[in-house]
């Protein structure tokens, strides 16, 4: 039997480039994870549907546009609606420090701001998987 941690890296919102998301997808692959990457401008509904079909343990949300306070909790809620709260949500991108407590209160389990070493992300994944 061979289990693998599967992670969905998704970009909600309207911002137009995904260099950061692609970078994290590749970095997690190099750490031995299976990463599903779905591209730009995903809606909360498509992210949740994708996470369920792909049976991932984690959703990593990447956002630069500033809509994280609205979109991240929405995704957490939709997971709950679908009885899929066992899927862990973490976030990254341009997120001001002052917003982090709000996100953590709303079901996002970890937030990684630019420059976070990948080893921190791995530590998080390994601690909750």
């Amino acid at each position: 039997m061979s289990e693998k941690v599967r992670i969905l890296i998704a970009k909600p919102g309207l911002d137009g480039h995904d260099r950061g998301a692609k970078y994290i997808a590749r970095a997690l692959k190099d750490e031995g994870y299976e990463v599903i990457y779905t591209g730009l401008r995903q809606t909360p509904d498509s992210i949740v549907a994708t996470a369920i079909q792909e049976d991932v343990q984690f959703i990593g949300l990447s956002l630069l546009s500033g809509a994280h306070k609205e979109l991240f909790p929405k995704i957490v809620d939709k997971l709950k609606e679908q009885e899929a709260s066992d899927i862990h949500v973490f976030g990254g991108g341009v997120i001001p420090d002052r917003d982090i407590p709000f996100l953590l209160e709303h079901g996002v389990e970890a937030v990684f701001t630019p420059g976070t070493p990948i080893s921190d992300v791995v530590k998080f994944i390994e601690s909750v998987k």
């Binding site: 299976e34 990463v35 591209g39 995903q42 809606t43 994708t50």
Partner: protein, 320 residues
């Protein structure tokens, strides 16, 4: 098993969990597959293969549009390679199919090859069974199709769609011995690119060398991004499929596949038993050393091992 009932009802979360079970080779896998097996056999399976970047995922996206408009439930399994170094993978095929993400009658699953050679994942056949039992009418598998060995798609698909593009140059030569031979339908994609006539001529020439066949392999030109040629393609597939059926080829193909599967299954079962009995993992280094030093010779040593194993087993059978 509760999971069985939920899969048979087509519950999406259950289907996804069942594929994970199969993919991981979970201890419950065999029991699970046996419990759904009688409900399998209704889905049609298309395999889409071809070199990297040929437009396979884009085509699959457009094919889903067509089949959904006919009211079919469609599932996709998209296989990408695992890194031989880290064992990880970036699975990016479904990026091109995300317009279907929230359609409850479309199920898309990415699978990493996990070291399995052959262009598909090791447990693809069982993953197809899960989707089949869950009520999907059409299952499309996107496989890795680079060269001579990535041809296992023929062991899972009823019809293989081989996607080629202009400008492959010598690559087409490299494909000839392997992937090039397994296509049922040849899709020449990116017809908006230069060199499409040359590619068409090459493919037609290659097919002409195959000799007479009443099920002549169709060649279809498409431009997947522009959605050109897709309706014609689905007609061609339907037509080919019905000819496969009426000529009894489909039955023949499926039987051949099952025979292959039986062979694989027996080999892996026997391997497991033998390896356990001989404690191969523990002993293999030791045996290697003895072989290298010439202390033992390969055939007599292992023939004796097998003989001992068989005698032991029959003794056990007698005492039971």
């Amino acid at each position: 098993m509760e999971l069985v009932d939920r899969v048979l009802k087509g519950e999406i979360r259950a289907v996804a969990k069942a594929i994970t079970l199969v993919e991981n080779g979970h201890p419950d896998k065999e029991k699970f597959i046996d419990s759904i097996y009688s409900k399998c056999g209704n889905a049609v399976v298309w395999g889409v293969t071809g070199p990297p970047g040929a437009g396979k995922s884009t085509l699959v996206d457009k094919l889903i549009d067509q089949e959904r408009s006919k009211g079919k439930k469609v599932a996709v399994i998209a296989v990408d390679p695992s890194s031989p170094f880290s064992g990880g993978a970036v699975l990016g095929d479904r990026l091109r199919m995300q317009s279907h993400a929230t359609d409850p009658n479309v199920f898309i699953r990415s699978m990493a090859s996990r070291g399995h050679l052959g262009g598909v994942a090791g447990n693809t056949t069982d993953a197809v069974r899960v989707l089949d039992a869950a009520g999907y009418d059409l299952i499309i598998i996107e496989s890795i199709g680079v060269g001579q060995t990535e041809i296992e798609i023929i062991e899972v698909a009823d019809i293989v769609l081989l996607v080629l593009v202009p400008g492959m140059g010598d690559e087409i030569q490299a494909l000839k011995a392997g992937v090039m031979e397994i296509g049922d339908i040849y899709i020449l994609n990116k017809k908006d690119h230069d060199g499409i006539e040359k590619l068409e001529a090459e493919v037609n020439y290659m097919l002409s060398l195959k000799g007479y066949d009443e099920l002549k392999n169709p060649v279809v030109l498409t431009s997947a991004v522009e959605n050109i040629g897709i309706v014609e393609l689905t007609h061609t597939i339907e037509d080919y499929y019905s000819r496969l059926k009426t000529s009894n080829r489909l039955t023949h193909k499926r039987k051949k596949r099952v025979r292959e599967e039986i062979q694989h299954l027996l080999i892996s079962k026997i391997m497991t038993v033998i390896n356990k009995n001989l404690e191969t993992e523990k002993n293999i280094d030791h045996w290697a050393e003895k072989l290298i030093s010439g202390e033992i010779s390969p055939y007599s040593f292992f023939n004796q091992k097998i003989k001992n194993f068989l005698e032991e087993s029959s003794e056990n059978a007698d005492t039971n």
